[in-house]
């Protein structure tokens, strides 16, 4: 072989080795290796719990107490349920009560525990052209938006929030579609949807925690108009948003870690965990983001 060939091969392989070493030093130690030695609980969670920072705040206590590592996969409720049905996760944290009941009834999930709520609120432009702040019900609020011709941004992604939105439209006897022009399904997460609504001076339905936790300067033109404490619609049962933990049924997927999932459910019901949940947000945002369900 010519000398240049050798020198090229040597330098390229040196480069690759250096790059990989750099990757291995700074990256994940368990890269491409099974982590069978540590107990790992895989949770598919709705994005609101991850984006708001709640899980980052409370999970270290669980991980330490049970010597278990938690892998969090933040997706919409629809996708979380599919991951659970296929046995790709051990537990889901979701918020779509009717779907959850169906999910358990079909034998996909066990040990469903509803532990907290995070009510929905309707947010919109500060000048409120549709006068949502004077609405008499959640359905009335959305009717006003439809009548005014103001834009409404919908999640449109089969998430828990999307299902709730459809339920409220139905309660008002309406079924909007994107062909109406003012109704804009974006098919994205709550954070992106709020950013879009802010740019479009549109209304949207959001859970309160995500709205409070998102960087305020990014949604400066949006205001909560219906459903927040002190506003009409506070405590409206239609805006209730209970969250549940459901373990994947070990009978349909024996390889899932039901033991770890049960530990997690036990831990969720501990007084210390519930206290951390109810206090979360006070320090950073001046108010709690999640409310415990009485008697849970």
């Amino acid at each position: 072989m010519p000398r240049t060939t050798i020198s090229l091969i040597v330098s390229v392989s040196t480069f690759l080795v250096v790059m990989l070493l750099a990757g291995y030093v700074t990256g994940t130690p368990a890269f491409l290796m099974n982590r069978d030695d540590t107990d790992t609980l895989r949770i598919a969670t709705t994005t609101s719990l991850d984006d708001s920072g709640l899980l980052n705040d409370i999970l270290p206590d669980f991980e330490e107490r049970y010597n278990t590592q938690v892998d969090l996969i933040a997706v919409g409720t629809g996708q979380a349920m599919v991951l659970a049905e296929r046995g790709d996760v051990d537990l889901v944290l979701v918020h779509a009560p009717e779907l959850e009941q169906e999910f358990v009834a079909q034998g996909y999930g066990v040990d469903r525990t509803t532990f907290m709520t995070n009510p929905f609120v309707i947010v919109g432009p500060v000048d409120d052209p549709a006068e949502v702040a004077d609405a008499s019900s959640a359905g009335d609020a959305l009717s006003r938006i439809a009548d005014s011709g103001a834009s409404f941004v919908s999640r449109g992604d089969d998430s828990g929030t999307h299902f709730k939105e459809l339920e409220i439209w139905a309660s008002a006897g309406l079924s909007p579609s994107s062909s109406m022009g003012w109704y804009q399904p974006v098919g994205q997460g709550m954070g992106e949807t709020l950013l879009t609504a802010n740019e479009m001076e549109a209304y949207t339905l959001t859970d309160r925690a995500t709205f409070v936790a998102i960087a305020p300067e990014r949604v400066a033109d949006l205001e909560s108009l219906y459903g927040s404490p002190g506003q009409p619609g506070e405590g409206d049962p239609l805006l209730d948003n209970p969250y549940s933990a459901i373990a994947v049924n070990p009978e349909s997927h024996p390889e899932t870690r039901i033991d770890l999932a049960r530990n997690f459910v036990d831990w969720l019901n501990m007084d210390s965990t519930l206290t951390s949940i109810s206090e979360f947000g006070v320090e950073t945002h001046g108010e709690p983001l999640f409310t415990l369900i009485e008697g849970s």
Partner: protein, 230 residues
């Protein structure tokens, strides 16, 4: 910043988090492109130097593969690796291995096609000459590939650039798990969703910086070998 450790020392923690995310990004994409090169370069060379039935069809399929949306590749791999899927037993879903697999599939058409075109650009004249001198097929292939080395380098870099900046497939099959499968692109999506645009932009700058360093280094090497070989 609700993590108590972050409250203690936000700058250090953020920096170490970013370093490990950048490290994993390189680990995954470098591993993927090495595998892709090991398969794609011989295959591309073989395609360029051999005539056979269906060669045209195969080329069209490979060209089309360059336009395949990565998220579709991700979805197919997700369904294969899911526990309910045929390869579920491997336990690869939501691990870096799944991300590497996705990136190999995404980059392979680029490596094969670009290797093939650069070899074709050289092959006819050089190989005729060598054949008349009595060289074997294997010797001809080696010589032609050597002549086409800079084109092949571009093939590898193009594939690498595609996979390191890709987000849809690695999000689906990796799951964007903090400390496990979070890479620069999925971290950018997360920070954007949280409205933390500054952090998203910084992560984007790190991605560009990493890519720039790698490309500059490789091009510098190729420049040096080009000079010494003249």
């Amino acid at each position: 910043m609700t993590d108590p450790q972050c409250l203690l020392n936000p700058a250090t923690n953020l920096l170490s988090a970013w370093t490990s995310v950048a490290g994993l990004t390189i680990q995954v994409s470098a591993t993927a492109i090495i595998i892709s090169a090991l398969i794609g370069i011989p295959f591309g060379t073989w395609l360029a130097m051999n005539q056979f039935r269906g060669r045209q069809v195969l080329s069209i399929v490979l060209y089309a593969g360059m336009g395949m949306p990565p998220v579709v590749v991700g979805l197919i791999i997700f369904m294969l690796l899911s526990r309910a899927g045929p390869l579920g037993g491997l336990g690869w879903l939501f691990t870096p291995a799944a991300m590497v697999l996705a990136q190999v599939i995404i980059s392979l058409p680029f490596v094969v096609v670009l290797t093939k075109t650069s070899v074709e650009g050289i092959s006819s004249s050089v190989s005729e000459q060598l054949r008349s001198l009595g060289a074997t097929d294997r010797q001809i292939a080696r010589a032609v590939l050597w002549e086409a080395r800079f084109g092949v380098l571009v093939a590898i870099l193009a594939g690498f650039g595609r996979v390191i900046s890709e987000v849809g497939a690695v999000m689906l099959v990796g799951g964007n798990i903090d400390g496990q499968t979070r890479v620069l692109t999925t971290a950018i999506v997360l920070e954007t969703r949280r409205g933390q645009f500054e952090q998203a932009i910084i992560l984007g700058a790190i991605l560009v910086g990493v890519t720039l360093m790698i490309f500059a280094f490789v091009l510098h090497l190729s420049q040096r070998t080009r000079q010494t070989s003249v």
